[in-house]
């Protein structure tokens, strides 16, 4: 069938050469008109809710007033971007954002890899499946649920964690309001929600490793750790690199909802990140242009980083993402 189709395709391409390429294109467009009708709603979605906001970024070069619209708001060049870099607040916020990103990379990123390697060593398939079932669940819970469960468990008045701490004779800890606990709490919640789900892609990569390699290694007397180190890890290196690139591209995407839910006036000093700042400055204080400029800066850096990381990966002989 495939063969028949390719010959038909080839004929289609060769026949209308006389009629001219235009006529051929026009004929194909007409023949596929219902396909375009099918694509249209989705296309409109992307134009309206993705590309119109990109165009809307021009307000970061304006003093945008909602009642004037983009057409009539005055242009101010790089004013908001200059403000950004001279604002002491912003440097603090950028710092907070980068620290959370660093912690993400250091403490979260390796966890799914290690989990997948451990799961791969499990031979009892019922056990393996049960563990997988349980650790995927948190991924489907909203940040509101994750944060709410953390709140009821960690609160000073009656939360089980503090009750147990007190029961063993220690001082209760104000996890929810103290700036010192914000970052560990953030990263633990990320691990809780996403580590299990993150194993899926590594498990698939591991599953494609040739079993004979392990058998050969065992013949040579290689222990489990050596097998993991010399066979499994190299086999999933490509996947690790790709995910690392994507992660680096997401450097500033730390999850508005998540951080916003943990943010309060006591931990704001360490918990305010670019996203939450954009929300507060933009929608609460109506500084549309300034906060659009911050958002623009963020998206732009993200795009640059993903391109850079991709390049680097290719130089190192990996495939890259695109």
């Amino acid at each position: 069938m495939r063969h028949a189709e390719t010959t038909a395709g080839a004929m289609e391409h060769s026949l209308p050469m006389k009629a001219g390429r235009r006529g051929e294109l026009w004929r194909r467009l007409r023949r596929n008109k219902w396909l375009y009708v099918m694509i249209l709603p989705g296309l409109l979605y992307f134009l309206i809710f993705k590309y119109a906001p990109m165009y809307g970024l021009v307000i970061s070069f304006q003093d945008f007033k909602p009642y004037k619209g983009i057409a009539d708001s005055p242009w101010v060049g790089f004013k908001h971007f200059e403000r950004l870099f001279t604002e002491p607040d912003f440097l603090q916020i950028l710092g907070n954002t980068l620290i959370l990103f660093g912690m993400n990379l250091l403490f979260f990123f390796p966890v799914p890899i290690i989990l997948a390697l451990l799961l791969n060593e499990v031979r009892v398939s019922v056990f393996k499946r049960t563990v997988q079932t349980l650790i995927y669940i948190p991924h489907f819970m909203s940040w509101v649920i994750i944060a709410s469960i953390s709140y009821v468990m960690l609160t000073m008045d009656g939360g089980i964690v503090n009750e147990l701490i007190a029961y063993f004779g220690f001082q209760k800890v104000n996890f929810l309001l103290s700036p010192e606990w914000f970052r560990p709490m953030y990263i633990l919640q990320v691990i809780w929600r996403e580590a299990g789900w993150g194993t899926i892609i590594y498990m698939a990569a591991i599953a494609s490793v040739d079993v004979e390699q392990y058998e050969a290694a065992r013949m040579d007397g290689a222990a489990r750790f050596r097998q993991i180190w010399h066979i499994t890890l190299p086999a999933i290196r490509g996947v690790i690199v790709v995910l690392l690139i994507l992660k680096i591209g997401d450097v500033l995407e730390l999850g508005f909802e998540h951080v916003y839910l943990l943010l309060n006036s006591m931990n704001r000093r360490v918990a305010e990140i670019i996203d939450t700042y954009v929300y507060t400055a933009g929608l609460r204080q109506q500084q549309f242009s300034y906060s659009a400029a911050i958002g623009f800066f963020k998206s732009f850096i993200g795009l640059l980083l993903v391109m850079l990381a991709n390049r680097l990966a290719r130089k190192m002989g990996e495939d890259g993402v695109y």
């Binding site: 596929n32 165009y55 819970m141 709410s148 009656g158």
Partner: protein
């Protein structure tokens, strides 16, 4: 594969099984604790410091939260948004994915590029808010659906799945006089049930979990979905923000009440999870590997 017979191998296995069991338990225990806590009295919760099994069982927290219609209303909003949103998203996404899966479609490459580009760069919160406002969607339920109606990642998963359906089936249907819509709805979609189930689950979870868009676009608290109400009851009431943000005269809700609201918001997902679990791991891979 054969189990390791060496001593070091056995020690490793024992350690590995214990560790994984502990991790699995740790990720699930908080849910069990909250469920257990919601089914007891506040006095019992405060007194016995149990983790899993209370001595006194009680449904008073549920009686309390269902004594007004606030929770019902929020659940109804979330259910409606989830149901209609998922239907709309699946419809738009599968039509677009099918169109883009057809190799004979002109313009397919630039459109795909435009879709992928939105995964790398976006206009951000403020410009998106202004677009939604310009469309007159502020304070409407449509604002919870339309801005997230199509997810580029889900679209690509579907497109890849459709591409793997043998072309021959479509060709012969076409010879039989089937239209493109007919092919999609009578042949391609019925063959793609696993992928559709996965993507429906992803969309449904996204809509059920909607929080950001609700606080961005909804003004009236009567329209709040369950996530916003949950946050209002649990998170705000727990911290020092309480007195300033809710009416300070009302005492903060009991711990058991908070837990009951968490359970109510979590339950729908826990209920559908086992049915769809077998599909989603495969679905998630289809998209992420081929991109």
């Amino acid at each position: 594969m054969i189990e390791d017979r060496t001593i070091s191998g056995r020690i490793f296995s024992a350690f590995n099984y214990t560790l994984l069991a502990a991790i699995a338990l740790a990720s699930f225990l908080p849910f069990v604790h909250v469920i257990a806590g919601s089914f007891t009295t506040n006095a019992e919760l405060a007194a016995s410091k149990f983790v899993l099994i209370p001595k006194v069982w009680s449904a008073e927290a549920y009686q309390f939260i269902f004594s007004t219609n606030t929770i019902f209303r929020a659940m109804a909003v979330s259910a409606g948004v989830t149901l209609l949103g998922t239907l709309l998203s699946i419809l738009i996404s599968s039509m677009m994915a099918y169109g883009l899966s057809r190799r004979d479609l002109d313009g397919r490459k630039p459109i795909m590029f435009a879709v992928v580009f939105t995964m790398l760069f976006n206009g951000g919160l403020i410009p998106t808010f202004l677009v939604v406002k310009e469309l007159g969607l502020i304070d409407s339920y449509a604002a919870l659906v339309l801005p997230i109606a199509v997810n580029a990642f889900n679209l690509i998963i579907l497109k890849n799945f459709f591409q793997n359906i043998p072309d021959g089936l479509e060709e012969s249907a076409k010879i039989d006089g089937c239209s493109d819509f007919g092919i999609l709805f009578r042949i391609v979609l019925p063959l793609s049930m696993p992928a559709l189930a996965t993507i429906s689950l992803f969309y449904a979870v996204t809509y059920w979990n909607t929080y950001l868009n609700a606080i961005l676009y909804l003004d009236s608290s009567a329209k709040w979905p369950i996530q916003v109400l949950l946050r209002q009851i649990v998170v705000l009431a727990s911290g020092i923000e309480y007195s300033s943000s809710l009416d300070g005269a009302v005492p903060p809700p009991d711990q058991t009440v908070k837990m009951a609201v968490i359970v109510v918001a979590t339950l729908p997902i826990l209920l559908v999870y086992p049915f769809l679990q077998k599909h989603f791991a495969k679905g998630a891979l289809l998209g992420s590997i081929k991109g």
